[in-house]
Amino acid sequence: MTRPPSPQLTLEHFHAFIEPAIHVIEKMVGLSVRAGVPRVGTSVPQEETVTVMIGLRGDLTGTIVFRFRTDLVRRIVKGLTGDEETIDEIDGAAQDALGELANVIAGNATGNLQRLGLQVTVTLPVIAMGRDFRLVFPDIPELVVIPLETAHGDIEMSVTFAAKVNGDNAP
C-alpha cells in the first residue's frame, strides 16, 4: 500500500482516538461515556489529578494525555479490577490500572489510524500526579482537549500530534 507522504490532519484523525476511548472505558470500566465539545488549548488542573501520557510514533508523532480526577480514579480502578475495597491513596496498583486503560485506548486507536493510511505505534505510559502544572509540547503547538463525560465526572483526553513529512514533523 502506498501511503501519502504528507497526510492532511482532519477531524477523522481525532475521531480515531475518541471512538476507542468511549468503547474501551465502557467495556473495561463499565462507565458510559459521551464525548464533549473539543477545545484547542491546554488547562492547568486546580485539583488533584492523575495524568497519563502516551507517545505516538510513526507517521504521526505526538502525545495522547488523559487526566483523571482522583475521586474518579477510585471508580475507574474498582471497575477495572473488580476490587470492592475503597482506595485510600493512588498507589502503584491504581497508577498501573490507569496506565493500562490509557494504553488500551491508544493501542486501539492505531487500528483506526491505519485505516486512514497511517502507521503508528505507541510508547509505554508515563504518569504524573498533582495539581497546578502545565503540560508543554514545544514542537507541536496544537493541543486538542476532548472531554469524556461520565456520570461520575469528566475524564480529560488531550491529543497533540503532527504528521511526519520527509522524516520531520510538520507543525
Binding site: P20, D96, G99, G107, T110, N112, T121, V122, L124
Partner: protein, 121 residues
C-alpha cells in the same frame, strides 16, 4: 490435570484480570511474568501449555519475546494479548509463530473460543 498457563504482561492490572478469567475457567496459572525477559528466563522451567503475551512492554517487546520463546520451543503455543489494533502488528506476530492475537479489551467468550481452538490443534 489442568492446562497450565503463563501470563506475560507488564501491567499488574492486566495480569490480575487474565489470571481471574483463566482460573475461573479451570486453567492453572503456573506462572506470571512482568517482562519479556523474565518470561524467556522462566519458560524452560515452567513449561506451560500456553503463554499469553503482551506486545508493549519495557526493555523487550512482545514480538522479540515471542521469537525467543519459539526458538526455545518451536511448539510453544503463544497467544498475543495486545491493545495494538493495527493490522500489521497482528500480521507480523502471526508470521513469527503466534497461535492467535487477542485484542484488548477482550471478553471472556472470545478468550475461551481462542483457547479452545489453539489447544485443540
Amino acid at each position: 490435570m489442568k492446562t497450565r498457563a503463563m501470563i506475560v504482561d507488564d501491567s499488574s492490572t492486566m495480569r490480575q484480570i487474565l489470571r481471574g478469567l483463566l482460573e475461573k475457567n479451570g486453567f492453572d496459572v503456573a506462572a506470571m511474568a512482568e517482562s519479556g525477559v523474565e518470561a524467556v528466563e522462566r519458560y524452560p522451567e515452567v513449561k506451560p501449555d500456553f503463554v499469553t503475551l503482551d506486545m508493549i512492554m519495557p526493555r523487550q517487546n512482545g514480538l522479540v519475546t515471542l521469537e525467543q520463546i519459539k526458538r526455545l520451543d518451536p511448539n510453544a503455543i503463544v497467544i498475543m494479548v495486545s491493545s495494538l489494533a493495527a493490522e500489521d502488528s497482528i500480521v507480523v506476530c502471526k508470521e513469527a509463530g503466534a497461535a492467535d492475537y487477542i485484542l484488548k479489551p477482550f471478553d471472556e467468550a472470545k478468550v475461551m473460543a481462542v483457547l479452545q481452538r489453539v489447544l485443540k490443534d
